[in-house]
Symmetry: C2
Subunit: 305 residues, 2 copies
């Protein structure tokens, strides 16, 4: 029976590379029919990594049969997963997010408070004595760099730093140089429509009863991205209506300086103001030091909801 390995919808580099690395892990453990998959299009940053390594994209899946065996990486929240997840047989989860899953059966669940899923996968490879070759090491580096914004995000741990240095020796690359190149490719927004930008890294999330979408655009020039503010706002209004949500947060994050300009819309915008103790002006506010949705947005918004 085929085992489908995939990360979250709106895949980022950690999700895509983790699906490939986990699928390889399963094959090393003896599985003969495990395939790496993805739930959406890859972004420019991820494309750069796969092109660099000359490896194929994971297979795009939109529907899988009820009862399929799946392995989740880099997520566990059914709202960010394949639609019929509750009808699938989840064999394993390898993740670094909060727990949002309920199952009716025990499973292998491995999560740690680390900067990326790849850091968890590195530890699994070590634990099971599975060799990390140059390609796997580079994929792991890419996941860590992407999720920690080159070790700058507050989600970065000492283990992430130690492990990315070890991986650089295996991969024989300078992770800083490779990482900066990779992140820069990710900030290239050319050719993306307003709608695509508004879904580029969008995640559906509930802050208790408040139904929200958060999205993050990485850039080195916040001002340039903010020139599209009016278009963003129009697009966000449509999304709020279509998705029936109470709140949409767009973080436009300067990955060099480590700050974010946030555009906030929806009838529960007050939750953002309360959580960050700011007053929105024209639906936006600049938040110094804001880099991480997981560490800096979700816990505080949930607490205040």
């Amino acid at each position: 029976m085929t085992v489908y390995v995939f990360g979250h919808a709106n895949p980022d580099t950690d999700t895509i590379t983790s699906a490939i690395v986990m699928s390889n892990f399963e094959r090393e453990l003896g599985s003969t029919d495990t395939i790496a998959c993805r739930l959406g299009n890859i972004n420019k940053e991820t494309k750069y990594v796969l092109d660099y390594l000359k490896i194929d994209e994971p297979i795009l899946i939109e529907d899988i049969a009820d009862g399929s065996e799946v392995i989740l990486v880099d997520h566990n929240n059914p709202a960010e997963s394949i639609k019929n997840l509750n009808k699938c047989n989840i064999l394993k989860v390898v993740d670094h997010h909060r727990v949002m899953l309920n199952t009716s059966y025990p499973l292998f669940y491995r999560a740690e408070i680390l900067g990326s899923t790849q850091t968890v996968l590195y530890k699994l490879y070590k634990e099971y004595g599975i060799k990390i070759n140059k390609t796997i090491a580079t994929l792991m580096i890419a996941g860590i760099v992407s999720d920690t914004l080159l070790l700058k995000s507050p989600t970065t741990t000492e283990e992430d730093i130690k492990i990315i240095e070890e991986l650089s020796e295996i991969a024989q690359i300078d992770y800083r140089e490779f990482g900066l190149e990779m992140l820069n490719k990710g900030t290239d927004l050319s050719g993306l429509s307003v709608e695509e930008l508004l879904y580029v890294d969008a995640k559906k999330i509930n802050f208790r009863d408040v139904k929200a979408i958060t999205n993050q655009i990485n850039t080195t020039q916040i001002n340039k991205v903010m020139k599209m503010k009016n278009d963003f706002e129009e697009g966000i209004d449509i999304i709020i209506e279509d998705e029936k949500i109470d709140l949409y947060l767009l973080l436009i994050t300067d990955i060099i300086k480590g700050n974010s300009q946030v555009i906030v819309k929806g009838k529960r915008s007050d939750l953002f103001e309360k959580s960050f103790n700011v007053k929105l002006k024209d639906n936006t506010a600049f938040i110094e030091g804001l880099l991480s949705r997981k560490k800096q947005v979700t816990p505080i918004m949930t607490q205040n909801a």
Copy 2:
């Protein structure tokens, strides 16, 4: 800040010994203020184990302050945990049950499909290179024996068997002899009231929308226990009303032959009949080969609910 380590309410041997073993693990990792706790009275089987090792019971806790730091072992379901779990800061989970937890923050989560939490803890000790002394090894054996009914339950895996054999060498005990003695102490029901028996290993569980309590009494003589059937039924009726549940299942399990007589009451008794394809007679049915709630009751009841 004190870190409280505890297993589920209505503690069994795996839960109590896992709290002690996990607390020791944390101290070995450098924590200076971690304490093993329990959420209820220990049973006779567990008492035998602690007396054998001449170690104290974990500390009984009923209330802890909001914001307390906790580590959960052998459970993750808030319904089986301390009342204000959602106001506590859960640092880690080490478990072998289905996932029932939702958090607003990432955490260390380690679960595997193994016969006992102790088997998972053994692997953690190995992974982190922490020495397993005679006492820890005996506690681990006790947890495995209790949860797998001396390796007879369908939840038993090859890893449980391999690991209990390794632990026996460290502990220098015959796990079969020790295990049988231990289980026999657990089947001694003398001195327990009907009400105590009806809560002896009770777990609150929802099979989708069906609110239920399942309970298991281990014995070597089903007929003898069934002499109390009328008293059980009266007690169950009171519990159903007090706890506002739709279903109460009492498994009276012959741990030698591996069968269960089940007493079923509540307005959703039909769910049991449908799930096991039996007709209840006088609110009871004999189910051949039924040993495990986790593997044989919960998944099938959830599926049919």
